[in-house]
Subunit: 205 residues, 2 copies
DNA sequence: GTCTATAGAAGGATAGAC
DNA sequence: GTCTATCCTTCTATAGAC
């Protein structure tokens, strides 16, 4: 019974996740989710009361997953270069398995900016710069990274990883026309991105 | 009369543009658009028959504007470095005036991949590499750009320009918490991005 | 060309039986 | 806990008067 409940609830949650990611909050239909889960519409309301609550449950989990991928960077005992390589490998691999998450998250953040606080609050952002400064004091001398350009640097890193997936439909379409393969392009990006960034940051001697 | 018609039609079109960009196709309501234009709902249908047609009209114009910004690059008689600087200055300035376009476009492309063909077809993509190769044959010898890495290079350029706007809600929220100003960050990016890329591409001698 | 009124369909939510 | 049936609101779209 309780075993069965869990199964139904999870089935609903998983179906909702898929449908919401594909169609977004506004485009998703409760009927779609019910069909997808192989159950009745009324059951959705039994477990989650409203569409809004169901969506929130889904969104918080997903957004959490996405941002967690940024965290280990600060705990690993690696050099700056190794951290960059580690990040792109892990983050891009995660998105290969969940290619539609980036656009979904960016989109729903835009639709409902209130959601951002919840997620951002959980991350100790100030730790970011502190750790960078403390753990890599010596290394930073060789790179063009300063307190002033941290936002530029961080968004460049994030963008090089996320943008190809957020813009996948366009990029894949253009590449197809030019004879490139999107999946291979993504695979290569795990190396290209950190190489590119490290090159850009190195101070010319 | 004909003068007035034009005005009404344009007013509808502009209102629709604003509402669609803000809420997306699924989230937008014909009533919102009518209210925004200060007219009656029925008039929308008189001019555009259906919500779908109205949306398509809006989308095609907007997507066109966005991609046009990439075109002049190939006609200008500039060095590769100058083209990069030119692109980031123009493209980012355009998005400063239309900060919500990028996410809107990426999103609707994802929802309706069929739209992509229409836009992509208009661009002579093969010309891209041909021009690059022809106009900058000598310069390319000094850069890490090959036929194989063109996709990596192009998407990196596009991403450095577009991503900050697509992810604006998150980025702005994080920056606020850290004491940075988003608008200033964007302004600085017009210089930072081309500097960064040129540095990354230069072959170490 | 512009309005009011309304048809008609769709979707979220609930009542009630099992 | 799960289903069927149904309510009620919302939204697109049209009919018809001015």
């Amino acid at each position: 019974m309780t075993e069965n409940d869990k199964l139904t609830e999870e089935k609903i949650f998983e179906s909702a996740t898929e449908v919401f990611i594909e169609k977004g909050m506004d485009g998703a239909r409760m009927q779609d989710i019910a069909d997808h889960a192989g159950i009745n519409k009324a059951l959705l309301h039994y477990y989650y009361r409203t569409k809004d609550r169901l969506f929130n449950a889904v969104f918080e989990k997903i957004a959490g997953q996405m941002f967690k991928k940024f965290a280990p960077i600060f705990d690993e005992n690696l050099s700056l270069e190794e951290k960059l390589r580690f990040f792109f490998r892990e983050h891009i691999t995660f998105m290969q398995k969940n290619p539609k998450l980036p656009l979904f998250i960016l989109n729903e953040f835009h639709r409902n900016p209130g959601r951002i606080r919840k997620v951002v609050q959980k991350i100790d952002i100030n730790k970011l710069w502190t750790v960078l400064e403390a753990q890599h004091k010596e290394e930073l001398k060789n790179y063009n990274i300063t307190r002033e350009t941290i936002p530029q640097f961080m968004t460049t890193v994030a963008g090089m990883s996320v943008f190809p997936f957020a813009a996948r439909p366009v990029i894949a379409s253009i590449m197809e026309k030019m004879g490139y393969d999107f999946d291979q392009y993504i695979e290569e990006r795990k190396e290209y991105a950190p190489d590119f960034i490290i090159n850009a940051l190195k101070k010319q001697v």
